[in-house]
């Protein structure tokens, strides 16, 4: 893990000193703001209806709208992590310092993950607004944010892996976007295969189903195990990929 802290700080600095993170942050918050507006309008118009879900559940769990931007944002956040360093040659200076490959991969990945969390952070204000007119169960909110963090962590790990596998940022972004769309489509299979093992498989990887659980405060260990696998396997491959083009 040598070198983690300075590389992590530099990556965060690098993300926010260029326009990319700010553009993504703005676009993301525009979509989330629109989403929140629609939900609030919906509940305001149907306040007398007995429903089994409030605005928090609707915001995090009963729609795929918040997660569609992630299919684009996560690849864009991670595409430059290794690909750009390899293209510009800065990776040579980086890896000839006394740092370990694992430390480098984790530092870059964590910088992207922290940026992702920062992107979600302003949405807490929505919940503060809801609390002005009703009750918010903050344990459910915590579970929901755990859910979105785990989903993003998996997506970013896939992006980190593809960035370590190519020198082209564009190719890295396209490859990870394709992987994320494939994962997403597999989740939608839950609604196509209504029964049987395929339905179970698709439901297991479905971000919609996962977030539906988390948004109700259900923290299922099976889901956490799946997310941990989705994080650890790509990161392991990323470490091996970096070692492969160094030592191969």
């Amino acid at each position: 893990m040598r070198g983690f802290w300075p590389i992590f700080k530099r990556e965060l600095f690098s993300l926010f000193v260029t326009p990319l993170a700010w553009v993504l942050l703005t676009a993301f918050l525009l979509v989330q703001g629109l989403h929140f507006f629609l939900i609030v309008t919906h509940f305001a118009n149907q306040a007398d209806l007995a429903v089994d879900a409030g605005p928090v559940q609707s915001f995090f769990g009963q729609t795929i709208l918040p997660y569609l931007p992630l299919l684009l944002i996560c690849p864009l956040l991670t595409m430059r992590l290794f690909a750009e360093e390899r293209r510009s040659g800065t990776i040579e200076a980086l890896l000839t310092a006394p740092v370990g490959t694992t430390g480098v991969v984790l530092a870059k990945y964590m910088a992207a993950l922290v940026t992702y969390v920062i992107m979600w952070a302003p949405t807490l204000l929505y919940l503060v607004l809801i609390q002005q007119t009703g009750e918010v169960d903050w344990r459910v909110v915590a579970a929901s944010y755990l859910g979105v963090t785990l989903v993003g962590a998996g997506y970013l790990a896939i992006g980190t892996m593809t960035s370590a596998m190519t020198q082209s940022q564009v190719l890295a972004a396209v490859l990870s976007a394709m992987a994320l769309v494939a994962l997403f489509m597999l989740g939608i299979g839950e609604f196509i295969f209504t029964d049987g093992p395929l339905n179970a498989l698709c439901a297991h990887v479905s971000v919609w189903t996962q977030m539906n659980d988390f948004s109700r405060g259900i923290v299922d260990l099976r889901r956490i195990t799946f997310d941990a696998t989705l994080i650890l396997v790509p990161l392991f491959v990323a470490v091996r990929a970096v070692d492969a083009w160094r030592w191969g």
Binding site: P6, G89, T96, A97, W247
Partner: protein
């Protein structure tokens, strides 16, 4: 400080570095000389710990690169060929980042960055974003990066590439100054750079080490010492007299020197005289002059033949890499038969 044993690096079917071995002792400034694509950068990248070797063993500052890579990398400062830097960072920010990465203790970091900037001459651009710097200053920042942890060993890959003549002179002076208390291995394909800065050179071609020694020794590998004599008189008489002198390996006519402003009644004749490899050049010069004078040949000028390093370099690095021809002399008048690969010259 650096020990390389039978190092090879293979990319697929391409053998970029082919079984090279050499040592660099503490305090030396060694030039790693070779044409583009000879394997210089690959070798330096392996020494710096960026690439792994396919075969062979490398020890840097006493640490085996395969077994103790962190300690080995912490002992050296490496400047890659293109000085890749983060353009969005300011010079001082970048060097502070690099100092932290290279495990410079927090309390010493500021002083280390200031010292490296002073040594590399980039103090006055400390607050400038790297992206706004000229090529020359970027090279200097790369050098400051290599210096920031005050390593005992510097590995510099073409430190003057792309610089203008003034910048080249400055960097060379800096390298010489740094070499006073450090070991430096620098690669280049510019021969005058090695002559200007290095105490010793390693010549690499097609992935193989083809010569090793001081500049003078490398010159002597290809051509024995020789004299160029301008004489006046009979050519045959002069050749016979010169050939008979002790220590002369061979004598031949050569192009006559430029006409002097005070032309002699007879045209001048040029002689090229190869000296036996084992003979002492000064003594042979005396004997040749004596023999010519005694034979009634007028000696107008005598100069030792200086082989341009470019010519030696070209002969060492060009042509088919046939094992027995890689470092063999170009003519029978030259040095004894060369060993198969490395032409090591005893220092």
């Amino acid at each position: 400080m650096i020990e390389v044993e039978h190092l090879s690096k293979q990319y697929g079917a391409h053998l970029a570095v082919d079984d090279i071995s050499f040592k660099v002792d503490r305090g030396e400034i060694v030039g790693f000389l070779g044409p583009n694509g000879a394997g210089k950068s690959t070798t330096l990248r392996i020494l710096a710990g960026f690439l792994g070797a396919t075969r062979g063993r490398v020890r840097v500052a006493g640490y085996d690169l395969a077994e103790e890579p962190m300690k080995a990398r912490a002992s050296l400062g490496y400047m890659p060929e293109t000085s890749p830097l983060y353009p969005e960072m300011r010079v001082s920010e970048y060097l502070t980042f690099r100092a932290e990465l290279k495990l410079v203790p927090r309390g010493e970091r500021r002083a280390a960055v200031a010292r490296a900037m002073r040594d590399a001459g980039v103090e006055h651009v400390a607050a400038t974003p790297i992206g706004q710097l000229s090529k020359g200053y970027r090279q200097r920042v790369g050098l400051a990066d290599a210096l920031v942890s005050d390593p005992p060993l510097l590995i510099l890959d073409e430190p003057t590439a792309g610089l203008d003549p003034n910048q080249i002179r400055e960097v060379r002076a800096l390298v010489q100054r740094l070499g006073q208390d450090r070991t430096i291995l620098l690669s280049t394909h510019i021969l005058s750079e090695v002559e200007a800065t290095c105490t010793r050179a390693l010549v690499i071609a097609r992935g193989r080490l083809v010569a090793e020694g001081t500049i003078e020794q490398i010159r002597a590998i290809r051509r024995p010492p020789a004299l160029h004599v301008a004489v006046r008189g009979d050519a045959d008489l002069a050749l016979t007299a010169a050939s008979a002198a002790p220590g002369v390996h061979a004598a031949r006519t050569a192009p006559a020197p430029d006409p002097s402003p005070d032309p002699s009644p007879e045209p001048l004749l040029g002689l090229e005289i190869d000296i036996d490899p084992g003979a002492e050049a000064g003594q042979v010069t005396e004997d040749v002059v004596r023999a010519l004078v005694e034979a009634g040949v007028g000696v107008r000028a005598i100069t030792p033949r200086t082989e341009s390093l470019e010519q030696v370099f070209s002969e060492l690095t060009a042509g088919d890499p046939a094992p027995s021809a890689a470092a063999s002399p170009p003519s029978t008048a030259a040095s004894p038969a060369a060993p198969r690969k490395n032409r090591k010259v005893k220092r």
